[in-house]
Amino acid sequence: MSVRLQDPAALTRYREDLVAARDPRQKALAVCGGTGCRALGALDVVAALRAEVAAHAAGCDVGLRATGCQGFCQGGPMLLLVPEGIVYQHVGVGDVAEIVEKTLLGGEIVERLLCTDPETDLQCVREEEIPFYQRQQRVLLRDNGLLDPTSIDASIALGGYAALARALEMGPEAVLHEIKRSGLRGRGGAGFPTGRKWEACRRAQGDLKYVICNADEGDPGAFMDDALLEGNPHGVLEGMIIGAFAMGAREGHVYVREEYPVAVERITRAIEQARGLGLLGEAILGSEFCFDVRVSRGGGAFVCGEASAMMASLEGRRGVPRRRLTHLSERGLWGRPTNLNNVETWANVPHIVLRGADWFSSIGTEGSTGTKIFSLVGKVVRTGLVEVPMGTTLREIVFGAGGGVPGGRAFKAVQTGGPSGGCLPADKLDLPVDFDTLAAEGSMMGSGGMIVMDEDTCMVDVARYFLRFLASESCGNCTSCRDGLAILRDLLGDITEGRGTRETLTLVEEIADTVEATSLCALGTSAVNPVLSTLRYFRDEYLAHVDDKHCPAGVCKALISFTIDAERCNGCALCAVHCPKGAVVGEKKRPHAITQELCIKCGICKDVCRRDAVLVH
C-alpha cells in the first residue's frame, strides 16, 4: 500500500473518499463465512454466486463477500442482501440461480429461503424482523454482516480507526479516564475492571510495556472471540492500539489458538494492512506514538488461556501456571509491565472512545455495563451468537432470542461460564446475567458460553463430560487438579454405569473440596463447579443413579433398556432394518421385540420409529 496516513485529518479524507466512491444503492451479497456456515458449505455458495453473477448479471454492479460470523448459526449458511437487508437462510448451491434471477435481478423474494417466526408463523424478510435479532442489542457484532473482514477499506468506510484518531486527540490520560468511567469489565471471565487494570499498567515503571490480546478461547461450545476476530479483526486491533496508547505500551501480542486458522489469517492480514496505512508501527497517524503487534499461535492447550501460563507460552516455555506474586501490570511478559485483555474487551474499546463512557454505562446494569455476547448452543431452537445488554435474564436469552427448547421438551438447565461454570436449573431463569449474580449462584459468567439442556439430558452425564474435558486439559502440575480431577471423572463414570453408592457421592464431595481448596490456578479451583453445581441443584438425579440404579433422563447406557410397546408397534420393521446389531426381531406387520442380550443401547430404533413405540426404561 502506498498511502500512509500522516495525521487524523488524512484518515478522515481517506474515509470520505471511500464513502464517496461507494454507491449506497450498490447491491451486495454477503454470505456468512463463519465457522458454522463454512462447515455447511458457505464457501461453495460464494463460488456458485460468483459464477452465476458473472454469467447472468454481468452488467449489474454487485459486490460479493464472505463475511465473518453473522451470529445466526441455526440458519446457516446465511445470506444477507444489501441494501435491502433481505436475509435468506439455509442457502445451498442449488438455490443460487434462483436468488440471482429472482431477487438480485427481479427484486422478488424467494419465500422458501426466508426465516419463519415460530410464534407468529410469519415469514421474516429483513434482519430486524427475525426474533433472534430483535431481542439483541448488537454493538460489537453490528458490523459483522456488513464488513468484508479482509479489507481495511471496508472497515474504515464504516468508521474504523475513527476512535483511534479521537484517542490521539484526547491524550492517554483522558482515554484512561473514559475507560474507567465506562465501567467496562474484562470479558474473559474474571470481570476485573478494565480501567483499573490499565491504570496500574500505565503507572508501572518500565522501559517497555506490553499489551496482549487473549484469543485463546477454549471453552467447548464458545465462539464469541472467534467471531469477532474473523468478522471484525480491525475492531479488535483498533482497541489494542488505543489501549497501548493509553498505557504507553510499545509492543503487542495477539495470542490466538492454532485451531482458529481463519482468525489467525484475518488478524495477521489486518495487522499488515494497518501497518501499511500508518495506523500501526512507527509514528502512528503522524504522532509520536509507536506501537506494533505480532501474532503468536497457541498449541491448543486450554490452560494457556490462564494469564501466567500464557506468559510462559509467549516466552517459549511450557504453558504452565505459576503463582503470581505481583500483578502482570508490574511484572508480566519478560518481567515487564503487561496488560492482558480478552478479544471482546478490546473490541469494546473503540465504541467507548467514540461514543463516550456515558453512552456505554447507560447499557447494562450498574455493576456490569455494556453488552455481552453469548454463544447459545445445545437444546435450543435458535443457536448462535446473542449480544444483549448485561443484566438480561437467562430466560430472555434462552427463550427470547433462543426460542426455547425444541420439540416440545421441557427445559432442565443452562450451563453458563464454560466448562468450569455451573448448571443453573429452571427456577434460576429469571436471574439477570451479570458478573456478580451468577457467581453468587454457584456458576459464573465466564467468557459467555451458554449450553441449554432439556429433560433428556442427564446431569450426572453432563458433569462427567465436563470433568473429562478438564481432567485432560489440566496442565498436570498440581497433584490435586491432575489426579483429583481424573479420579472424579472415573467416579462419575462409576455412577453413570451403575457402580456408584452413597459412599461414592461422599468421596466425590471430599475430593472436589480438596481440588478446589489446594490447586494453584483458576482451572483447578473452578474445575469442580460442574460437579458441585449439579450436586447442589440436581442431587435427586445423582441419588436415582446410586440408590435405584436408574437414569431419570434415560441417557446412561448401563442403566437403561429399550423395549417395544406392542400396542403401538405396527411392525413396519424400520427399527429392525436400522439396528446395527440385528437385535430387533419380529414378523412383518406384527409387533417387534428387542433381544436384550444383543442390544447395545445406541437408541437408533427409538430415533427411527415413527410411532413412538420404542420405550426407554
Binding site: R323, A471, S472, G476, S480, L485, E510, T514
Partner: protein, 255 residues
C-alpha cells in the same frame, strides 16, 4: 533485608523473600514437601506443604502452599490445623495412587494417620512410582543440560527425555536426576565400566589409581570444556588425589 513474621504464634526473623517452607522448617516446624529443593525453582506441584497464612490487614486465614510463598513482614503462618491436615491427607492419597511403593510416601502416610489407600494404584504409568514432581527435570535444567522435560498434560502427563524422544539426547549420565528424585523411581544401571539411564548407555571413567568409577566420559567432557579445566582434572578420584598430594608433600618434607 530481614523481616519479622509469626509462625504458629512464635515470632521469627527471616530474609525477605525466603520461602515460607524454609522459614517454617528452620523454626522447627515439620511441613512435608516432596517436590521442593532449595537449589531449583519451586513449582508447588505436590501440594503437601500446605499452610494457612494471613497477610497484614487481612482478617481471614488463607490456605496455600508454602514452598512458593515468600516471607514478608507481618505475615502470620499456621502449620497445624484440621483444614491443612484434611487436604494434605487427600493429596497424599492421590500421590499414593501413583507411587504405592515409595517409602517416603508410606512414612508420610503413617505420620499423618492415613490408614490404607483410598484409591486403586495406577498401573499403566510410563515411569512407575513417579509422582510427576519434576525435580529431575528442574535439576537437569539448572545443571545446564535440559535433557529431560514434562510431556503432555492432564493425568497422562509424564516426565522423560525432552520432546518425548526415546533417548535423552542431551543427557550426560550424571545421575543428578536420580539423586533428586523423592520416590527413587528413576532406573539407572551401573556396571564396572558403563552406566545406562534414560535410554542411553555411557562409558564410565575409572580412577587411574584405584579403579573406582568416577563419572561418565560424557559428563567429564562437558565439565572440562565448560570449566576450561586441565584435561587430566578427573584422572583420579578425590580420595586418590588427596592421597597423591599427601604423598607428594610427605616426600617433599622428607627430601
Amino acid at each position: 533485608m530481614d523481616v519479622e513474621l509469626i509462625i504458629d504464634g512464635v515470632q521469627v526473623t527471616a530474609p525477605a523473600g525466603a520461602s515460607v517452607l524454609d522459614v517454617t522448617r528452620r523454626a522447627g516446624r515439620d511441613v512435608p514437601a516432596l517436590c521442593y529443593h532449595e537449589a531449583v525453582p519451586a513449582i508447588a506441584s505436590c501440594r503437601l506443604c500446605l499452610v494457612e497464612i494471613r497477610r497484614p490487614g487481612k482478617d481471614r486465614m488463607h490456605l496455600t502452599t508454602s514452598c512458593d510463598y515468600p516471607a514478608s513482614a507481618g505475615l502470620v503462618v499456621a502449620t497445624d490445623s484440621e483444614r491443612i491436615h484434611k487436604h494434605r491427607r487427600m493429596n497424599l492419597q492421590l500421590l499414593l495412587r501413583r507411587a504405592p511403593h515409595a517409602a517416603v510416601l508410606q512414612n508420610l502416610a503413617a505420620e499423618l494417620g492415613v490408614t490404607g489407600p483410598l484409591f486403586a494404584p495406577v498401573t499403566d504409568a510410563a515411569l512407575p512410582d513417579c509422582i510427576l514432581c519434576e525435580l529431575c527435570v528442574r535439576v537437569c535444567s539448572v545443571l545446564g543440560y535440559d535433557a529431560l522435560a514434562a510431556i503432555g498434560r492432564g493425568d497422562t502427563k509424564r516426565v522423560g527425555p525432552a520432546f518425548g524422544q526415546k533417548e535423552a539426547l542431551d543427557c550426560v549420565g550424571c545421575g543428578s536426576c536420580r539423586e533428586a528424585c523423592p520416590t527413587d523411581c528413576i532406573p539407572m544401571v551401573d556396571t564396572a565400566t558403563s552406566r545406562a539411564i534414560w535410554g542411553r548407555t555411557f562409558d564410565l571413567v575409572a580412577c587411574e589409581r584405584c579403579g573406582t568409577p568416577l563419572m561418565t566420559t560424557a559428563q567429564r567432557a562437558v565439565t572440562v570444556a565448560r570449566g576450561g579445566l586441565p584435561k587430566d582434572e578427573y584422572a583420579q578420584c578425590h580420595a586418590c588425589k588427596r592421597a597423591a598430594l599427601s604423598e607428594k608433600l610427605a616426600s617433599g618434607m622428607r627430601g
